[in-house]
Symmetry: C2
Subunit: 223 residues, 2 copies
DNA sequence: CGTTTAGTTGAACCTTATCAAGCCCTGTGG
DNA sequence: CCACAGGGCTTGATAAGGTTCAACTAAACG
């Protein structure tokens, strides 16, 4: 179902076959860890359904979500000996797992796959660079607005204007870990957006209606 | 001179030849812009000597350095139509420039090169993720200490302990833009490190002696 | 039901930004 | 040769944004 947006997108049938012969489908319940930081780096994967968070943390336990991956996204770090990041399912999640060794070998045998992975990695890098800008230079309101727009673009790629309902994939605490803020600040900023009529959202809910995409964009990227 | 650490590292002579036939060497004076954000994405490059900064900025002009690249590092974003980032020489810098089109073609013709670029891009992504952690969860002191260690590791890869002299590649203002702080905070944190005897450094100087790497590490990653 | 968990809200505090002044070095022009 | 302007850096005072701590609500769950 997610073929064309994922690694498999550009591939021939024989290549797909090579991949699927090493792949293993698995469902992870909410909160289950797929791979631990510090463990040997043994798997790569494609997200099939649900989502995963990729987290880094300081030795004293502060946590930061460095990536949020959705269906079609590639997870993992080929060629690295050890995992430096923890991968966790957020919400019930289906992954297509590839043991790293065989995956790297398959990569070597199928050019289109390697090319596609290179392009995906370049895109991830671009995304990471945007997040560096957010975390380094944006205030709380701007970060929250940017995040809502990110989720909106992910789930409604064709949306242009007018009200749109989005379902936040993560909790307030996870939003805080993603945006480099605290739970309290996230909560306050959301109520502020609600009071200002930019979004509509029941208290404590994960469901959120963007009333004015335009205003949200203005907050995310002021001019 | 920087062959083995750069893209060219894993290549055969015929591949090197292919690359060098499209390459153009150029020296950029301090502050000169190599590529502008928003312009068509026309070049990739390898840093030969000196260093470049890669910056992103908000529409209202706040600036963030998203990457700092040294000799051997690859600069650019193959496959992207437009540049979203600005690349600027910091200090007198030699680059080996590749027009993007021919570079992508060459990439398609030389597997080892593509493989190597994939690995480099993965490493860049890992670095970016570490910086997301820093910007999201570390305070000013920790960021400064992390940065000094980064520079130390770059310039003295074999250094383990004891005093070591390092030359900061960038100004205070650029450190601020790199670390998501202000000039004033950077300055204050450096004098603090100086007063605490962690580093020795003449006021306003770019040269800095790390007196205790151990203490610096303790500050960068508290436990 | 009582307990737990996620989220909201308020008050006090703290880190960092902002504003302002001054220093030092360099380069320039009288 | 000196006065002066400018840039890079430091330092101080003040302000603000976000964190921390704490209380509270509401839904979920045994």
């Amino acid at each position: 179902m997610i073929r064309d947006s994922s690694l498999c997108g550009a591939m021939q049938d024989n290549e797909l076959h090579a991949l699927s012969s090493i792949a293993r489908r698995k469902t992870f319940p909410t909160g289950q860890v797929v791979a631990w930081s510090g463990d040997p780096n043994s798997v790569c994967a494609n997200v099939v359904a649900g989502a995963v968070k990729v987290t880094a943390s300081t030795p004293d336990g502060r946590e930061q979500i460095v990536g949020l991956l959705y269906p079609g996204d590639f997870v993992g770090h080929p060629f690295a000996e050890d995992a430096t990041l923890t991968v966790t399912a957020v919400g019930e999640t289906d992954l297509c797992l590839f043991p790293r060794g065989p995956f790297e070998r398959t990569l070597g045998e199928h050019r289109t796959m390697e090319r596609r992975l290179l392009q995906q990695t370049m895109e991830s890098l671009g995304g990471a660079q945007q997040r560096i800008l957010s975390l380094g230079r944006k205030n709380a309101a701007e970060r929250i607005a940017s995040f809502l727009l990110e989720v909106l673009d992910r789930t409604r790629p064709d949306h242009e204007d007018g009200p749109a309902e989005i379902d936040l994939p993560i909790s307030r605490g996870e939003m805080a870990d993603y945006l480099g803020l605290t739970i309290e600040t996230v909560s306050r900023q959301l109520t502020r957006l609600r009071k200002d009529g930019v979004i509509a959202m029941a208290k404590g809910d994960r469901c959120c209606t963007v009333l004015s995409r335009e205003r949200l964009e203005l907050i995310a990227d002021p001019d």
